[in-house]
């Protein structure tokens, strides 16, 4: 089938699934609901594979005109190129697995059909974001995924204990995302003012043809786009919503808050590479923001005790690494890390979901321990995920991180050195998590222990598939030391079929350097692994209670008090402003001022009313008053004004 038909089908399928489940899902059996939702995802993935097979050039598919005004027109159109189809593969592929997992995970939930409706709707919005051929369609998807994320974070809004907290977390996520969205909107206006179009390809062409378009406003545009990216991809200063977003059901954390939506910011920057390449200043900002985020989040993750919070901060930290890559202009490397991260982070989240399921919804790792015997499949796959993210040799995370580190070394040795700290921290908190959960003694008490059981095959099957991907995902972009031909396949694929990227030659490190870097990184990871094993598995150290923490551990555990700081800096002042405006401007000045005036008029009125004999309504009185005013106006004008 032709590419444009396939693309439309793959886009329409999730929407169709959402419509069917949303309208009649309540009456259908759970298995059918889950089957429909997963089925459309699988078909979508197959379509994506077929398109992927035929992708050799940028193809624009025009749908219809969304908006046509005097000075600009906006089309609903889609763009198929290497970047968009690769992202589509990740979203639909990983999405399908997570849908399968959810059938098991959500089986006891009353809102089963609603959950799958939202999930499918999210996929539709995400695909729109990725496949749009202009910033406007991208913005459609961009806001759309934010709304689905809101709905899914607050999914259990009526829970007796956590209902309010869940809905507050959802609101926080939405508002912080909206701040980013506002940045994107301003960016769109600036782009329109500068280029009079929002189409990616047209902007790239215009820049190529007319160098006079390259001026200071590019910096403004790119900074606005980056603000948008910090919102969606949880970077400093807008990252605090992501850990709170863990209030959503765990498959949601895996799909939206690890594998797909949060990488939208990276996609946006890669998609706009032709703009960012012209703004070295913005690239530097991205580099350092990404770096700082990666460090801060890794630090906070060191002493979190909620299994999902650790993973959430880890996600923030990994996203930071991707932005570091973007800041260095290594766009395809960032996408490579997006890909491997989607595999192992989805795996880790689903694994944690399996653990939480087994633990009767307990998430505190201080109450876990020794789970490896009871949850063999979850344990093994979680171990693979942990090793992959920690950069254990030859697993997928090892290659993608190594690419970033290689570029960093080339960029500046100091950056490389400090990034290594972040990488080391990642290994440290991940191994800590792994050993605390799966090794040692069970600490949750006998009643809880008797309930612990391995999850059903429908949940473990996706874990196994993701584990396989996490092991072999690195082969997508093998460095030159292993093979003479066919290396860096992903980079070549993206470079050759994505607008803008073909011009950017991403240097790959010399084989010798690569070798050295890999050796250093592997040694470090293995040392940390041994340390963590000694500490948590052999010596059976356990995490301290919150009130026993001191020094850096306290800071890490308290998330650097950033929530409190933001509350003090932003939330409180705006609330104060709102109350003060209402109490002073609205009530005191405007209302009482007006009443003062009205009283004055009223007094005059009653004075005049004394002349009248009958009872006149206020309305009539004022009509008369009006007429008097009019007549006097006439007279004055005729007498004195000459026009």
């Amino acid at each position: 089938m032709a590419v444009d038909k396939l693309i439309l089908i793959l886009l329409a399928l999730p929407l169709l699934g959402a419509l069917v489940n949303g309208t009649i899902g309540k009456k259908l059996p759970n298995l059918l609901v889950g089957g429909i939702a997963t089925g459309v995802m699988l078909l979508s993935f197959v379509c994506a594979l077929l398109v992927f097979n035929q992708t050799n050039d940028t193809k624009i598919i025009q749908l219809f005109t969304l908006l046509s005004l005097d000075d600009f027109a906006i089309n609903a159109s889609l763009q198929v190129d290497a970047l968009s189809i690769w992202m589509t593969l990740i979203v639909t592929g990983v999405g399908t697995l997570i849908h399968v997992f959810s059938i098991g995970y959500m089986s006891h939930d009353k809102g089963f059909y609603k959950f799958f409706t939202y999930l499918n709707l999210f996929i539709f919005a995400m695909l729109l974001l990725i496949l749009g051929s202009n910033y406007f369609v991208l913005f459609f998807g961009w806001e759309g995924v934010g709304i689905c994320s809101y709905l899914l974070i607050g999914f259990h809004y009526s829970d007796a204990e956590k209902g309010i907290a869940n809905s507050i977390a959802a609101r926080k996520a939405f508002i912080m995302n909206r701040i980013g969205d506002a940045g994107l909107l301003i960016g769109l206006f600036l782009i329109l003012a500068q280029f009079h179009t929002l189409e990616f390809t047209e902007i790239a062409e215009k820049i190529a043809i007319d160098p006079s378009l390259i001026n200071g406003s590019i910096i403004g545009i790119t900074i606005c786009l980056f603000i948008a990216a910090t919102g969606k991809s949880a970077q400093i200063p807008l990252f605090t919503w992501l850990p709170d977003a863990m209030a959503g059901p765990t498959p949601v954390s895996a799909l939206i808050h690890a594998a797909t939506m949060v990488t939208a910011g990276i996609y946006l920057v890669v998609r706009s590479n032709f703009l960012f390449e012209l703004a070295p200043l913005t690239k530097d900002i991205i580099l350092w923001i990404g770096f700082a985020t990666s460090m801060v989040a890794a630090f906070i993750a060191m002493r979190q005790n909620d299994i999902k919070k650790v993973l959430a901060y880890s996600t923030v930290s990994q996203l930071g690494l991707m932005f570091v890559a973007l800041g260095m202009g290594a766009y395809t490397v960032a996408i490579f890390h997006v890909t491997t991260h989607a595999f192992f982070k989805a795996l880790l989240f689903l694994g944690s979901g399996s653990v939480i399921h087994a633990m009767s919804d307990e998430q505190d790792i201080r109450l876990m321990g020794g789970l490896r015997k009871k949850l063999p499949i979850t344990h093994l796959t979680f171990l693979i995920g942990t090793l992959a993210i920690a950069g254990f040799p030859l697993l997928s995370g090892f290659y993608s991180k190594d690419e970033i580190l290689g570029h960093a070394l080339e960029h500046s040795p100091i950056l490389y050195g400090t990034l290594m700290i972040s990488v080391a921290l990642t290994a440290a908190y991940m191994f800590r998590l792994y050993f605390l959960v799966f090794h040692g003694e069970f600490r949750g008490g006998a009643t809880l222990e008797s309930h612990v059981h391995e999850s059903k095959p429908i949940m473990t099957m996706p874990l196994v598939v993701l584990a396989i991907l996490s092991v072999f995902g690195g082969l997508l972009n093998l460095p030159g030391i292993f093979l003479s031909k066919g290396t860096h396949w992903l980079s070549h694929f993206l470079n050759s079929h994505t607008a803008g990227l073909e011009k950017i030659k991403e240097a790959h490190a010399e084989p010798n350097t690569t070798m050295a870097l890999m050796a250093v990184a592997s040694t470090m990871t293995i040392i940390i692994l041994i340390w963590a094993y000694n500490n948590y598995a052999k010596k059976k150290k356990i995490a301290l209670a919150d009130n026993e923490l001191v020094g850096w551990q306290l800071w890490s555990n308290s998330k650097l008090y950033l929530d409190e700081l933001y509350d003090l800096l932003f939330v409180k002042p705006i609330e104060w402003l709102s109350k003060t405006c209402y109490a002073i401007v609205e009530i005191k000045v405007l209302n009482q001022g007006v009443f003062g005036l009205a009283n004055l008029l009223g007094k005059t009125g009653s004075l005049i009313r004394n002349w009248q004999t009958g009872l006149l309504s206020n309305y009539l009185f004022w009509m008369v008053f009006g007429l008097i005013g009019l007549i006097s106006y006439y007279i004055i004008k005729l007498q004195f004004w000459n026009f």
């Binding site: 969304l66 908006l67 046509s68 005004l69 005097d70 000075d71 913005f139 459609f140 806001e143 759309g144 709304i147 809101y150 607050g154 809004y157 009526s158 829970d159 007796a160 209902g163 309010i164 869940n166 809905s167 507050i168 959802a170 609101r171 939405f174 508002i175 909206r178 701040i179 969205d181 506002a182 909107l185 301003i186 769109l188 206006f189 329109l192 003012a193 705006i574 609330e575 709102s578 109350k579 405006c581 209402y582 401007v585 609205e586 405007l590 209302n591 007006v594 009443f595 009205a598 008029l601 206020n618 309305y619 004022w622 009006g626 005013g629 009019l630 106006y633 006439y634 004008k637 026009f643």
Partner: protein, 474 residues
């Protein structure tokens, strides 16, 4: 002409009909007027300028009895005749629905509105503008909260002062033109100074009705003390008269003064956008909250209209329609909450989504539409308006953009506090059929307009081009 006569007849019939009948007849009648409006809408070629349906030239004092419409007026007529059935439908299961006096007043209100949208003569416009005040006043007075005389007084004084100023402006122009016919008034050449004065007169009337900061203080109190249908009439239709008045009358008639008056009005609009939103953030009364939200939304439209170009006006029209639909939905939701729980206070509500899922869903749909999410009409409308304000001045644009964030804060807060969390009540009657129908119609319309806004924009573009092409002379 039948556009105007039908509501008049319906209103009169309501008065003589037995009470049991007026619900049904009123409903069917309003649908008939919607049908007539659609017929006009379909049959109209937007490229023709103004269709005059009747004309009696030069009555006494240079008055002309002219009615007609261009595509802009026709869209407003359509909006009016579509909103009136929705208001009656929202009211269907409430006490007022069977009240003949009330139903008659709604139709008289419709008559006044249609008169405003079809008037082609300044004095006719003024008369109908004033006429709309009577039914709304009586609705508020007879059917509103009993303790609201002071509120009513304020509302009344405010609007009357404004109208008076507008009348003065009309007279000032009329003297010059020796006529009050629309085209004659447009043709009057004014000095810039004079144009500013005349515009100020119009502006006072419109600013109060929109309402523009700082002329808005009548609004929150009036909204909260009036019955649901009254609030809906006010926010969905009466306020739109003022926006229409700005586009059709004020700016074309006094375009000489636009360059001077642009700035202050746009700044007031921008202040209103932020001010309304900031105050809405901490409101505890859900109706007051929606009232301030409305001030914020309308500030954006008013500022956009003052930018005075075709693109901004296209956005304004989309947003006018969108705001009408949304305010019907929001005030219906607020009324449902108030009627079934006995309170409008957010801190006393909570957890309703769980016990009334249908209401939870549709209320959420309207809240999201109010947040201008993609695929909703507001998305397109706000995008154009904010873009035009942005091109006008970056700072104004940024103020307008901030409403996006603040809007999310107060809208989600109001929804979350009322609907989420563990239920505080044991029972809450879910939506009745008529309420569901209203929400469904609103949501579908918002979705359709969001996707196919081009049709409305193209339809109104010829009229807008004429109205905005009246270039300032100085």
């Amino acid at each position: 002409m039948e556009l105007l006569i039908l509501p008049l007849i319906l209103g009169l019939v309501m008065l003589i009909l037995p009470s049991g009948w007026c619900k049904l007849v009123g409903g069917l009648g309003s649908l008939a007027s919607l049908g007539i409006a659609s017929y006009h809408l379909m049959g109209f070629d937007p490229l023709t300028q103004v269709v005059m349906s009747s004309s009696i030239d030069k009555m006494a004092f240079g008055l002309t009895l002219n009615f007609g419409y261009d595509s802009l007026g026709l869209v407003m007529i359509m909006l009016t005749n579509a909103i009136i059935p929705l208001i009656l439908l929202s009211n269907w299961n409430r006490e007022l629905a069977g009240n003949k006096l009330f139903t008659a007043l709604v139709f008289f209100m419709q008559l006044g509105l249609l008169g405003v949208f079809t008037a082609q003569d300044g004095i006719m416009f003024y008369i109908f503008w004033e006429f709309t005040l009577l039914p709304i006043f009586l609705i508020l007075y007879w059917f509103g909260a009993k303790e609201n005389n002071k509120v009513l007084f304020k509302f009344f004084i405010y609007t009357l002062v404004g109208s008076l100023a507008m009348l003065l402006s009309f007279i000032a122009l009329g003297i010059n033109a020796q006529s009050f016919a629309y085209q004659d008034l447009v043709n009057v050449q004014l000095s810039q100074k004079m144009a500013c004065w005349v515009m100020s007169g119009f502006l006072l009337a419109f600013a109060i009705k929109i309402p523009l900061f700082p002329f808005h203080t009548w609004q929150p109190a009036t909204y909260t003390s009036s019955p649901m249908a009254g609030t809906m009439l006010l926010s969905a239709l009466m306020l739109k008269m003022a926006l229409y008045g700005m586009m059709k009358w004020m700016l074309p008639l006094t375009s000489e003064g636009i360059e001077v008056m642009k700035w202050p009005v746009i700044i007031l609009g921008a202040i209103g956008i932020v001010y309304g939103a900031v105050i809405a953030i901490k409101q505890n009364d859900i109706k007051t909250l929606f009232a301030f939200a409305s001030i914020s939304h309308l500030g954006l439209i008013a500022a956009g209209i003052m930018v005075f170009n075709t693109a901004a006006w296209s956005g304004a029209i989309i947003q006018i329609i969108n705001h009408s639909l949304i305010s019907i939905g929001l005030f219906l939701a607020a009324d449902i909450l108030e009627k079934r729980t006995g309170t409008r206070k957010l801190d006393e509500l909570g957890g309703i989504a769980k016990i009334a899922p249908r209401f939870g869903f549709w209320f959420a749909a309207i809240v999201f539409a109010a947040l201008s999410i993609p695929f909703s009409a507001g998305f397109i409308g706000e995008f154009i308006l904010i873009k035009e304000l942005f091109s006008f001045h970056v700072l104004i644009g940024i103020l307008a953009v901030s409403s996006l964030i603040l809007g999310a804060v107060y809208m989600l807060r109001s929804y979350q506090l009322s609907m989420f969390g563990p239920p505080k009540l044991t029972s809450f009657q879910d939506l009745t059929w008529n309420e569901t129908a209203v929400f469904v119609v609103l949501s579908i319309s918002i979705l359709i307009i969001g996707l196919f806004s081009t049709y409305i924009i193209d339809y109104t573009a010829p009229a807008i081009r004429v109205l905005t092409a009246i270039t300032p002379t100085n």
